[in-house]
């Protein structure tokens, strides 16, 4: 099969993703330097907040969305053995999303959109920022549609057959994204854009926060699912073994998608506009979402154990040493799981209905999500890139050993940087400050941690540069060697037989999501139309 379209789509999307990433890494390092207060010449809140906003948008929206789209196009076409459906439409989606990024970048970089990546009104950004973000989302919807169409076309052409796990996961993610992006789309289209254009004098920030919460938590699972996909379909094979249980993998993915949607209120625990009963309901749902992660951890570790034992590992822990630590995918999975354990612990604290009070909006929160997102998730994006690049460009990876160095330094850097954040959070340091201006003894205890953050940031920046260098060298280096490898998916330990339709399709689950979303967001959103609410006019910054 000639899959050059899928390869080109994958490469183009991923280059946008990783270019955004490297730019954002430089901003990240600048931010820890600025915050430390050591360098007077750097201190400027306007530059700092422009930088934080751009860093957040590039990392959370641009890197992730483009990476996920590129990964999806390639694995869909490859695993289903069909060309990408409607390549013209796919390229149109790419163009829409990219023009959105450029449109948002102009106000961001010129300091006209320093509203952070959460853009909570009534602080108001330039309208081009909101429009650019909208175009990025619309471009990604094109991808979702293509994935869903390919899924159902394949099912129609292969009745009764099991959809390949990688495609099942990608489609799950596309549906998750369609469901969850509606919240922010409603906010932007009916509130932010008309208000920023002056068509509407005021908006209700309570309603805006509720709509944003609809998107705000599931979006992190949208980013995470490709990492889990690599855990399930690439890692066991690379370690030299089988996937422990494909059925469990499918169930975990479904529970993740269905229950990640109706739980966004744990971001509103400290908010006045929603009643406690709804917060409690969402809090309980949040705990259900720990289940698929616990199952994923088990299945992946069990698969690795099988590999270790096949390679001669003995005893309770002997199999760990015999794993192929020199394989970048296997190494990444191990490091990723380690960060997931610590990040997940922090997440349970955040999710706890009342315990959240202590760490809400403190430095603990960026500590937590840098572990889960910048650690667990991004390290798997690296691993996927190292795995796919030689296949996409038909040249061997420039240096396998440098790739291992890069992964280790990322892990070490992230550990150095996030530990002080967690401590600072417990010591009461707010997140989202550019410098420490409080004339209080407490702040003295914060200082040493600021220095550690700079060090962690430096290690991370070096690691990011090395990653980018390896991709460039692999694709454009002088090597004339040809790489002939193919993507290989892990076989399940027990062949999948008699798979019930609910583990091979999403029709039932879409209905379940519709019911759960109506229950958990119906009245909380409608209340704004029953109550006497007061709008806010826009504020600069």
């Amino acid at each position: 099969m000639n899959d050059s379209t899928a390869k080109n789509l994958a490469l183009s999307h991923m280059w946008v993703a990783f270019s955004a990433f490297i730019l954002a890494c430089f901003m990240g390092e600048y931010q820890v330097l600025e915050r430390s207060g050591l360098f007077d010449s750097l201190s400027s809140p306007s530059v700092y907040f422009a930088s934080v906003s751009t860093h957040g948008v590039l990392m959370a929206f641009v890197l992730t969305t483009f990476f996920i789209m590129g990964f999806g196009y390639y694995t869909a076409s490859h695993s289903l053995k069909v060309p990408v459906w409607n390549p013209k439409l796919a390229w149109t989606g790419f163009a829409i999303a990219l023009s959105g990024v450029v449109m948002a970048a102009i106000p961001l970089l010129s300091g006209l959109a320093s509203v952070l990546y959460t853009f909570y009104p009534p602080v108001q950004a330039h309208v081009a920022f909101y429009m650019g973000a909208t175009l990025l989302v619309i471009g990604s919807w094109v991808w979702c549609v293509i994935m869903v169409v390919m899924f159902y076309q394949w099912k129609k052409a292969n009745p009764g057959q099991t959809v390949p796990l990688v495609m099942f996961a990608t489609t799950a993610n596309a549906l998750l994204w369609l469901w969850t992006s509606v919240g922010v789309a409603l906010e932007v289209l009916f509130q932010l854009i008309p208000w920023a254009l002056g068509w509407m004098d005021t908006l209700d920030p309570g309603l805006a926060r509720t709509l944003f919460a609809w998107t705000l938590h599931p979006i992190v699972y949208f980013w995470l699912i490709p990492a889990y996909t690599a855990f399930y379909v690439f890692a066991p094979k690379q370690a030299g073994a089988y996937l422990f249980s494909e059925e469990a993998a499918r169930m975990a993915l479904i529970v993740l998608v269905v229950f990640s949607l109706p739980i966004g209120f744990h971001h509103l625990y400290m908010d006045p506009e929603q009643a406690k009963g709804w917060k409690l309901l969402h809090g309980l749902g949040t705990f259900i979402v720990t289940l698929p992660t616990l199952v994923t951890g088990f299945t992946v570790i069990a698969s690795l154990e099988i590999a270790g034992r096949l390679r001669g590992g003995k005893g309770l822990f002997g199999w760990i040493g015999t794993l192929p630590w020199g394989n970048s995918m296997v190494l990444s999975v191990i490091l990723s799981l380690l960060m997931l354990i610590f990040g997940g612990f922090g997440g349970i604290v955040n999710a706890s209905y009342a315990m959240n009070t202590m760490i809400h909006n403190t430095a603990w929160v960026p500590g937590h999500f840098h572990l889960i997102f910048a650690g667990t998730t991004i390290i798997m994006y690296f691993a996927i890139a190292y795995y796919l690049w030689p296949i996409l460009v038909k040249k061997p990876l420039f240096s396998k050993s440098l790739a291992l160095v890069q992964l280790w330094t990322w892990f070490i850097g992230m550990s150095i940087m996030t530990t002080p954040w967690h401590v600072l959070g417990l010591l009461g340091q707010p997140r989202r400050i550019s410098s420490v201006q409080y004339n209080n003894l407490l702040t003295l205890s914060w200082e040493p941690y600021e220095l550690l953050m700079i060090l962690g940031g430096l290690v991370l920046l070096g690691s990011a540069c090395l990653f980018f260098y390896l991709l460039v060298k692999t694709q454009f280096g002088a090597s004339t060697e040809v790489f002939e490898g193919e993507v290989e998916y892990a076989e399940p330990l027990h062949a999948v037989k008699d798979l019930p339709e609910y583990l091979n399709d999403f029709k039932l689950w879409n209905k379940a999501i519709a019911v759960l979303m109506t229950i958990s967001f119906g009245i909380p959103i409608l209340q704004f139309f029953f109550m006497d609410t007061y709008g806010s006019s826009g504020w600069g910054y």
Binding site: D271, N361, P430, S434, P500
Partner: protein, 184 residues
């Protein structure tokens, strides 16, 4: 369909852990009244200075006839008003917050006094402070370029000291500086 017995066991263990956490939270919420701050009360942020409750004279610490203490504060770029308050330790304090402009958040480090302050809504939190001392009150939600400067001070004093200051006749007002001088 095949599910390994080990995997089945692990799912049961995971469900058990979840159930444990959830039941602790439910017990606390339903029987001990431990809840996130929520009261769904609206207010017009553009007119708070004209409102009876949050007019300038009514801000700060107020003691009701039955002894209940309510603290009313206004958050606005870039300060909490009033800038300094004094409250007793080991006493239930009700904080009522409004924003006069944008979104703010507030917390007192090392305590559970924390809430978001959303324009258009009144945020209410109840807390008590076991340990006397000077606490900063920090804005924890980005509210504009002066966000770093947004903080104020809370003095938590011993309950006896507080009672003594309330017993003296000229401390019957809410003037916190008077109270401090009386207790020297």
């Amino acid at each position: 369909m095949h599910i390994d017995p080990l995997e089945r066991k692990w799912v049961q263990v995971s469900l058990g852990m979840c159930a444990l956490f959830v039941s602790i939270i439910m017990l606390d919420a339903l029987f001990h009244g431990v809840n996130a701050p929520s009261n769904v009360e609206t207010i017009d942020s553009r007119k708070i200075h004209l409102s009876e409750e949050f007019g300038e004279d009514n801000l700060g610490v107020q003691v009701a006839e039955n002894g209940e203490i309510t603290v009313r504060l206004v958050a606005g770029r870039y300060a909490f008003f009033p800038k300094e308050i004094t409250i007793p330790a080991e006493t239930k304090i009700t904080f009522r917050w409004v924003s006069m402009d944008v979104l703010h958040g507030v917390h007192m480090p090392m305590t559970n006094m924390s809430t978001m302050i959303v324009p258009g809504y009144v945020s209410q939190v109840e807390s008590s402070f076991p340990r006397p001392g000077e606490y900063p009150m920090l804005c924890n939600e980005y509210c504009g370029l002066g966000h770093d400067h947004m903080w104020s001070k809370v003095s938590v004093i011993d309950r006896e000291e507080w009672d003594a200051s309330r017993a003296t006749p000229d401390a019957a007002t809410n003037d916190t500086t008077d109270e401090e001088q009386n207790n020297e």
